[in-house]
Symmetry: D2
Subunit: 240 residues, 4 copies
Amino acid sequence: MKVLVWNENRHEKKNPEVSGIYPEGIHGAIKKFLTEAGHDVTTATLDEVNHGLSDDLLNQTDVLIWWGHLAHDEVEDEWVEKIQQRVLEGMGLLVLHSGHFSKIFKSLMGTTCDLKWREADDRERLWVVDPAHPIVSGLGSYIELEKEEMYGEHFDIPTPDELVFISWFEGGEVFRSGATYKRGRGKVFYFRPGHETYPTYHNEKVQTVIKNAVNWLNVTDAHQPDYGNSKAIESISKKG
Amino acid sequence: MKVLVWNENRHEKKNPEVSGIYPEGIHGAIKKFLTEAGHDVTTATLDEVNHGLSDDLLNQTDVLIWWGHLAHDEVEDEWVEKIQQRVLEGMGLLVLHSGHFSKIFKSLMGTTCDLKWREADDRERLWVVDPAHPIVSGLGSYIELEKEEMYGEHFDIPTPDELVFISWFEGGEVFRSGATYKRGRGKVFYFRPGHETYPTYHNEKVQTVIKNAVNWLNVTDAHQPDYGNSKAIESISKKG
Amino acid sequence: MKVLVWNENRHEKKNPEVSGIYPEGIHGAIKKFLTEAGHDVTTATLDEVNHGLSDDLLNQTDVLIWWGHLAHDEVEDEWVEKIQQRVLEGMGLLVLHSGHFSKIFKSLMGTTCDLKWREADDRERLWVVDPAHPIVSGLGSYIELEKEEMYGEHFDIPTPDELVFISWFEGGEVFRSGATYKRGRGKVFYFRPGHETYPTYHNEKVQTVIKNAVNWLNVTDAHQPDYGNSKAIESISKKG
Amino acid sequence: MKVLVWNENRHEKKNPEVSGIYPEGIHGAIKKFLTEAGHDVTTATLDEVNHGLSDDLLNQTDVLIWWGHLAHDEVEDEWVEKIQQRVLEGMGLLVLHSGHFSKIFKSLMGTTCDLKWREADDRERLWVVDPAHPIVSGLGSYIELEKEEMYGEHFDIPTPDELVFISWFEGGEVFRSGATYKRGRGKVFYFRPGHETYPTYHNEKVQTVIKNAVNWLNVTDAHQPDYGNSKAIESISKKG
């Protein structure tokens, strides 16, 4: 399976705290454990030519992972539209953390995707509410993260097709932190954790979720339906 | 309740068959039975200044009904965005028939909203699959329309929050012809029938659905959630 | 609208702490504010003849509210089956708190309805996650209860048709504390709070939810579908 | 993967037309193509001791397939309860055709599972409405069956978690003919076709669906949640 990890990669350049945690960028950290899991992983970042994207690369990608935060508006609409089209054709999309405000996620959801937030070292506990879901295989009852940014309800998203995780935050809030959607012939998973100043993507359980999600997001053999003007299969009676 | 019926109103100008069926336009026909049902109904059409819309009009509208077909692309993006924002704030939206391809519906769905179609005088039977839903109150088991345009699966929409009707077509197809969604604090209902060359909006059961839908779409007292940076409610422990 | 409030009414007889909080029983407290809201309210309790139920009473009831805890097994199967049949015919059912383990709720869900619990004076905060839902009208962002029994995930229920509230608990857990279902032509709402040793049903916001829920649960004019052997509407071709 | 195919096997004994189509029983026909697909398949039938079931057999079964019709009431409650428990623990369940009225399906659904029906050689066309679902992989747009028993809406089931197929019938009806549910840690799939007097289970596309479904129903590594009395993870403040 071909996985493309896209990262804004701006915090890593500006903030030594972030580059200390992710010396090869958030994309590099994710690439590492997905490669070890046997996937064929490519990375792309905002400041590369065409944001590191090309038609060929997108066409070959089975699952795209998206991390963005500071510069959602700098992602050009042309590429957002191409990604959306690929999702509708069957490419999986894993949107991480602050990617809730990315153009691609908002385009696929149709809502503001707004939420409450706070950077205050909240403890977060992501409770599994769908224990039969392949995305939570091997996790146990919850994931605990010592420090994370808080995201709180109301989260302005469409009703998820499946709700997989609900987060508890130390400061008193809850959040729907793992949610799946189908769009066209593609699948989408939003997974909340991953603020850049915390080592969240080094957490083993978080890595398990991302590895499980990549497998679940990969749609194989999705039939391309026929659309448009269509002949009758059965005979149609003559009406007055 | 204030209802705004928006109609493209182009078929009515070009095709005597259509203006014969709807002498006051599709919007006029819908306005008539909704007014008789006690609603305060305004109409607007594509070729008026600003498509007949204004900020004030949208802000006062509780439920917007949308019929479009030939000229979806002529609806200016500015107004699509304003309508989308109003839906997310709580305005109900009833999308009729070929409105499946309108900019506003596609923006709220995030998918192509594509489908199969055929103009061949198919008989259509809309079966009620959610008999407890307020939208089907008073209908019985199904609505039968002697002649309609066929719309067939696959219909490229997100999984409906609620599926209310499934259509049977004489030529051999089926269609999810009544589907509800929540988006933000607003509700959306897509209702399939209403090809311009058939007297569908004069059908009593179709009128019942539209009247029921208008009531169901009206969200009262939807709380405006707080978004953005948010103080902790509970105390947060100091971490290392 | 005719509302029937059913209560086990055992804690009230055995525990002075409970009868101190609810001198007329939990059913009496609920009856009071629903009566003030204009409903025609009857009560019934476990130890009455036939648990206070009769065929006539059930047939006239639009919405049934159910509170039970210690003695779920003492409710006779005959009455559970009659209640289930009435729900399937269109009677609304509001299941409160420890009613998650009642026979009627388990019968309608098909699962164990098991959960984590703790009696330790946890603070509970019920966050609204569906701000457009009629059940949360007038509430604001959340309901805070100073002390409540904790119920924690995993809650073994089918995926709710609509998830309305998610609870935060001081001890570190979350819970899907407001969930709606359709069953047959009836609607079901499960609402978590209401441990007998806390004055939860005196809380104004909790009362608002129950009043909203009663209105939402009332299905009017639900069509009784035809079932069984059925003649063809269209002609069927002769096959070889 | 261990698959158990359970069949009532009464029509096969009584009706030469049925035994002509399925000389080794419906269970034998299903066993054959699932064995060829590499599964470890066992069969069991109503009239064997304990309906061919044992605790060991159920405990080892990953996916159970159920076909019943004439004698749902002869299946002993004890075994229905054991099967339900196994589903809630993670065993997949594929309910075929007239199994909609089986005790096990009704127990898991909580509704009457009633429907319209007709034996009149209707042509059936099962349209794929969820083209990204693994269950429809390799099928194309629809399955056509020359002759089948008609099942028509309203089908009294809970809202499916996922709706995969909608059937068109020649006589004018539609039906939700492929529907998935999660119950506990197990998955359930209802698949409509398979009247005993037609060679439906010899149809390649029907076999493809059953093979896909068996794979999809197999839940691996579903975490067993902790239920019951539970210590606080976070400290709880002393209240007044």
